[in-house]
Point group: C2
Chain length 175, copies 2
Amino acid sequence: MESEPTRVMVAVNESTLKGYPHASISSKKAFEWTLKKIVRSNTSGFKLLLLHVQVQDEDGFDDMDSIYASPDDFRQMRERNKAKGLHLLEFFVKKCHEIGVGCEAWIRKGDPTEVICHEVRRLRPDFLVVGSRGLGPFQKVFVGTVSEFCVKHAECPVITIKRSAEESPQDPADD
Amino acid sequence: MESEPTRVMVAVNESTLKGYPHASISSKKAFEWTLKKIVRSNTSGFKLLLLHVQVQDEDGFDDMDSIYASPDDFRQMRERNKAKGLHLLEFFVKKCHEIGVGCEAWIRKGDPTEVICHEVRRLRPDFLVVGSRGLGPFQKVFVGTVSEFCVKHAECPVITIKRSAEESPQDPADD
């Protein structure tokens, strides 16, 4: 009876808080908000497209103590990054399976703003959900915000979900 | 079993195209998009809060041929405006009843940007849907956009639904 499921792209990323691949506070919030407020009990009516963009520079310098002395060290780093990305997606995919909502998940490398807008053009989701740290104008000068860029440039409707004040870490630029 | 319905505020306004109180192309689009892509068959899971903001100056000069020669003329004008607003809301409320989704609708007067943000603070919807003409930066200089203001200032998540190119009237500032 129902038409094709509504396709919701959700951009997810790793937390900046720990060395371990936990989801960022804001992307976890955006994901949970989507399930609670949009999908609700209508699990067959929606399909989540979970996009994780790995920022290469940041990942490369994640372990400041590492010494890169041979091509093997770089290969190991790449494998470690890949494992972290997969671990992150597993977290979201597992949640989708638990509640029975269809999903697809994939990893891309590059600048999150460009990659997200590119993937929107490629996959034409019905809308895009992005988390936001909810930074003030002064804080934004230093860190930039992926969500604002997407609202302006993504070729589909975009909904930005802000972290609540209680969820914010001590340094609000962290996530 | 399910928690409280998701409360979706939808800002609706009259078309600039006719003297008759038709809904604007973009607010109709935003409303229909919400039903098709978000509510879907889960009509008990959502409640629509339909807000119509009447812009007083525009309404007052709607009939350029009218002559206001007595207090009665102004009273009649106010009654005509009220009737137009009610007629507009009736269109949306009727659609909600046809498909069985709960709704509330009301009219406020004033500047749409301020009134919408005020009503968001007052009623705390889960998110706000606003239509947009999808104007380019050059066109926007002259007409301003309610949707951009709401995205920045409303104290809840906001999703902007653009008119498609085929739906746009000859003058894209019209709606």
